[in-house]
Structures are given as structure tokens and as C-alpha cells.
Point group: C2
Chain length 190, copies 2
């Protein structure tokens, strides 16, 4: 494909982001054979916000469909949720999420993303974690983006069993099974 | 035992805190049959800081004995550590650690306390979590104090297996097994 002229490229970028809202500036720059700076200028011209903001906009729409937890209490941005069936969230691994000395993401950060996604997935007023088995398969490093995909694999009267697979790009980095207790009635404290 | 006069009581409180630095003001007030306010005044007179500060003072001493993680990166205060053998930490469950709607501690907070205690316990430059099985046995509520006790149950060339039991008072609230990878050599990133 010959390199596009500016107007044609901007048109193509808009279409690309519409069909894949989570495409990065880097991926666009490779696809259209221009610099990341050019992509940023194109987005500014098109009034399309940066990736982080696009993710948050999608996440905020999803919060209306989540019953068991406040949106602000979820670790990560929920970019997709089908109540009681499956859900996906994204976190960006920042300085606070890694060990200072080796810049590797801390285990509990991946656990927290997966666990809160399980809570968000279940459309019940009270959801609590009963037990969990997790495997940390690949190291996750500073500035990487982790996409957690949760899906229900079993449901009983009191429990959902949910499998979570987390990826950096296409690499599986974390695998977890969460047994989640739920009740449709508000419980008394104490 | 007859109720003590002020001077005798203060003397006894000092001895009690020396032998049990983690006794609460509430426990002292019950033991000496005076109000919590009186215990606070007694401590002020004796120049003994509040419990939270006493825990932090002990924790800071322990950080010298921890090799795999910065003291500030540990979730909780480490009040006891025998490198490669056992360790104990304490967290106070505050507003940030609970679900807003039911004031129950979030699972990943207990997981983070246990997991970072496992890292702290192992006296090696690089320690990473390989896998983990956890059970959330009792609900933990706002303002409760959780004491996590970790001990090594197996050690091989590359892995430690560590069991963590976490308690609120004498009640077991969390049980976890963590398989921890370690290496004595610094790894390259990338």
C-alpha cells in the first residue's frame, strides 16, 4: 500500500480507532508508516483523545452495568462486561506497581486486577472471594499493559467459579481461578 | 487483685508493655480496670507511644534484616522476622482496604499482606511469586487488625514454599500457600 497523504491518513486513522478503540499510537505509527509524533498530531486534529482516556471513557460506560462494586473500587479499567458471563479489564503497570530494585510487577497487583474483575463481573449486591488459585507465568515489567479476561466456568446456588487469564500483548502472564460467594440479600454487619 | 493506685498502675503498665509491646490500650484498660482515656494519660506520662507507633518502631528495626524487598514496599509492618524461617506482620484495616458498601476488607489486601511477607521472609536478592493458593475463611472488617504469620514449610534449589496464616485476634481469617522462586544472582531485565 502506498503511503497515504495527510488527509487520507487522518481519515484512515479515524476509521481504525473506531473499529479498534484500544489500538496504541505506536501500532498506528507502524501501520501508517509515520512517526508517533505525527499520529499524536493527527489525533489532536481529529479530536480523538489518547489511549488512556479512550479506555477510561469505555470503562465509565461499563460501570452502569456493574452491581457488586463501585467503579472507583475496581483495580483497572473495565473495557467490556457481560454480567455473570465475562469481563475484561486493563491496567497500566506504573512505578507504584513494581519492585523498585528490579522493575518487575508485584504479584498482588495482578491478583488485585483479577480479583476485582471477578467481583465486578457478578451481578449481585454482595460478592466476596472464597478461595483462589493463581499462577504467575511470565514476569510483567514497568510500563507494560495487562489485559485480564475473566469468564464464568461454573455457577451454583451460592458460588461462581471464574477463570481469569491475563495477557501482555498476546503472552499469558497470569492464570487464576476464583471461587466467589454471592448473595442477593444485603447482609447485616456484626 | 485490688485496683492499683496511680503510681503503682503506671509502673505495672510500663512492665506490661515491655513484655508485650503489642498490647492495645483497650486490653490494658480491661486489665487495670480503668478507662481507655486513663491508659492514654498514663502512656503519655510514661512517654510510651501509641500502639501504631510501637509497631512501626519494631518494624523499622526488622527492615535491616530483610534483603529481597525495600521496607517501604512491604504491605504491613513486619514485627518479627527470622530470615528464611518465619516472619510476622500486622496491618490495620482502614477505609481504603474495605468495600465502601459493606465495610468488609477486600481480598487482595489480605493477599498483598501475605504475599509481601513471603518476599520479605526470604533472604535472597531476587524473590518472585510463582503460584499461590489462598482461602478467605472469615470476613475482616473496617478497623480490625490482621496479624499474618508466615513460615517456610519446604525449600528446594529454586523455590521456597511458605504457609501464611492470618488472624484477627485469635480467629483465623486467611490461609495461604505461596510457592516463591528465588535466585541469589541479579537478573538482567529484558
Amino acid at each position: 500500500m502506498p503511503k497515504l497523504k495527510k488527509t487520507a491518513r487522518r481519515h484512515a486513522i479515524r476509521k481504525e480507532i473506531e473499529s479498534n478503540p484500544f489500538v496504541t499510537d505506536y501500532e498506528l505509527s507502524t501501520q501508517f508508516e509515520v512517526s508517533i509524533q505525527t499520529i499524536r498530531l493527527d489525533r489532536t486534529h481529529l479530536e480523538i483523545p489518547e489511549l488512556r482516556k479512550r479506555i477510561q471513557q469505555v470503562a465509565e460506560k461499563n460501570y452502569d452495568r456493574i452491581r457488586s462494586i463501585e467503579g472507583s473500587e475496581i483495580i483497572g479499567d473495565v473495557i467490556d462486561v457481560s454480567p455473570n458471563e465475562h469481563a475484561t479489564s486493563i491496567i497500566h503497570v506504573n512505578e507504584e506497581s513494581v519492585f523498585t530494585r528490579n522493575q518487575i510487577a508485584r504479584g498482588h497487583v495482578l491478583f488485585a486486577q483479577a480479583n476485582s474483575l471477578c467481583v465486578a463481573l457478578i451481578h449481585q449486591p454482595i460478592v466476596l472471594t472464597q478461595s483462589s488459585e493463581v499462577k504467575f507465568i511470565h514476569k510483567v515489567r514497568l510500563n507494560e499493559t495487562v489485559r485480564a479476561e475473566a469468564r464464568t466456568i461454573n455457577k451454583s446456588d451460592q458460588y461462581y467459579t471464574i477463570e481469569v487469564k491475563s495477557y501482555v500483548r498476546e503472552d499469558l502472564v497470569f492464570l487464576g481461578t476464583f471461587k466467589m460467594y454471592y448473595t442477593s440479600e444485603d447482609e447485616q454487619n456484626g
